[in-house]
């Protein structure tokens, strides 16, 4: 399996440039996540203790739903003018395209998280009792878990008739173990009741398994007619 870093860098730079100019993914993700935060904050009026217990679930579900909009955009722009065919006729490996897209989505979702997390903290009056620094690996590993599968399944649903529905149908069930790990790790850190280490290790294992599986299978997905 060859992964030329030059092609990954070039494709990533191209995707960042396209997103900077169109702002399709970031705008739709931010708008969606903001709506979730505001609606949830009006729906519940939790005490500080309750907030710590439910915030992990709310925050990750909001990011998961918001990420789906970005994941769909990633491949939609490759369908315009059938530009994906220009990649397919080149000698560039399919895996490089996949990794560049996954890195791009990781950056977009990370930007979303960086912007939305302070709002969550304010709206839910969150204060962590456990070690806050542990939220960094949880966020990084959790985000990668979402985007690696999301990028793969978004490509898989590319040629289906209702791909915007197909992506969540494929992505959400397979993301359940990762989501469980993200939510439990975040809740444990916020409440300080238990160690998050087990969930972080589970998340890391999930990431390794699904990254390798996606890299091995992506060429088949790209060439599917």
């Amino acid at each position: 399996m060859s992964l030329p870093s030059g092609i990954i860098r070039a494709t990533l730079a191209k995707d960042l440039r396209l997103e900077w100019r169109s702002k399709d993914a970031i705008n739709s993700m931010l708008f969606f996540a903001l709506l979730v935060v505001v609606i949830f904050s009006f729906s519940f009026d939790p005490l500080a203790e309750e907030s710590r217990r439910i915030a992990g679930g709310l925050i990750w579900v909001a990011f998961l739903f918001a990420a789906v909009t970005a994941l769909n955009q990633t491949w939609t722009r490759e369908l315009r003018n059938q530009v994906l065919d220009a990649y397919r006729v080149s000698p560039a490996p399919a895996n490089s395209l996949f990794l560049a897209k996954a890195f791009g989505n990781f950056i977009f979702v990370s930007v979303l998280e960086a912007l939305m997390t302070p709002l969550f903290i304010i709206f839910y009056n969150l204060r962590s009792i456990g070690p806050v620094w542990e939220l960094i690996p949880v966020a990084a590993l959790g985000t990668w878990a979402l985007v690696v599968n999301g990028t793969f399944f978004a490509a898989m649903s590319l040629h289906t008739r209702s791909r915007e529905i197909m992506l969540p149908l494929l992505l959400f069930p397979i993301s359940i173990p990762a989501l469980l790990a993200m939510v439990n790790a975040t809740t444990n850190i916020l409440t300080g009741e238990d160690s998050a280490r087990f969930w972080i290790v589970l998340l890391a294992t999930y990431d390794v398994v699904f990254t390798i599986a996606s890299l091995l299978l992506f060429e088949l997905v790209l060439d599917a007619e």
């Binding site: 440039r17 100019r21 530009v83 065919d85 220009a86 397919r88 006729v89 080149s90 000698p91």
Partner: protein
Amino acid sequence: MSLTDTNAASATQPIVSVTNLIKQFGRFAALRSVSADFAPGRLYAILGDNGAGKTTLLRALAGLTQPTQGKISILGSSDIRSVCGRIGYMAHPSLLYDEMSGMENLRYFAQLYGTKDEQRCTSAIAAVKLDPALQRPVGQYSQGMRQRLSLARALLNDPKILLLDEPFSNVDVRSAKEMVSLLAQMRDAGKTIFVVTHQAALLDDAADEFVRMEAGKIVSRTFELHLEEAR
């Protein structure tokens, strides 16, 4: 001239060879047992009505569609992936990013072929008579400019074989004639060029052979366009 006569006439080893090529889309057969050899350094005009199988044949040669049955050999290899760096492909859609300028598009695609040579992008864009300094995004180009930029993209890797699907559509007559003249020069330089077109008259002087397809089959190969038109 029959298919067999043409093949006999070309003493050189074929650069592209297809044998019993069949492509089914569900129950519809887009290609029905197509067999043909194509000699190097020639310009082939592939003609036929809509749905004749021209684009499917070109996509199969580019490695974009897998044949249901049959064999394709290009540059001596049956693994198109291994020789795709020596094939240039221009499709009916532009295969370009509308949000980027012409040079930005070419720089990106050049990197897919392992080159960061700015000069190569500049020569490709100049060859199709576009201005490398043009900063406008491709989305604001006219259809003709897009077609020419699309051709420049196909030339980036200095391919041995060029596969062009409707390169003259929406291009004004003067620009189309310039494109034909460029293709003739490239053929003279040793490239093998396949042009799928509905505007066969443009290639009357430049094409070496006119290949006519009907209902997924090659039905004739002729050296003169008027023989083709007489059918």
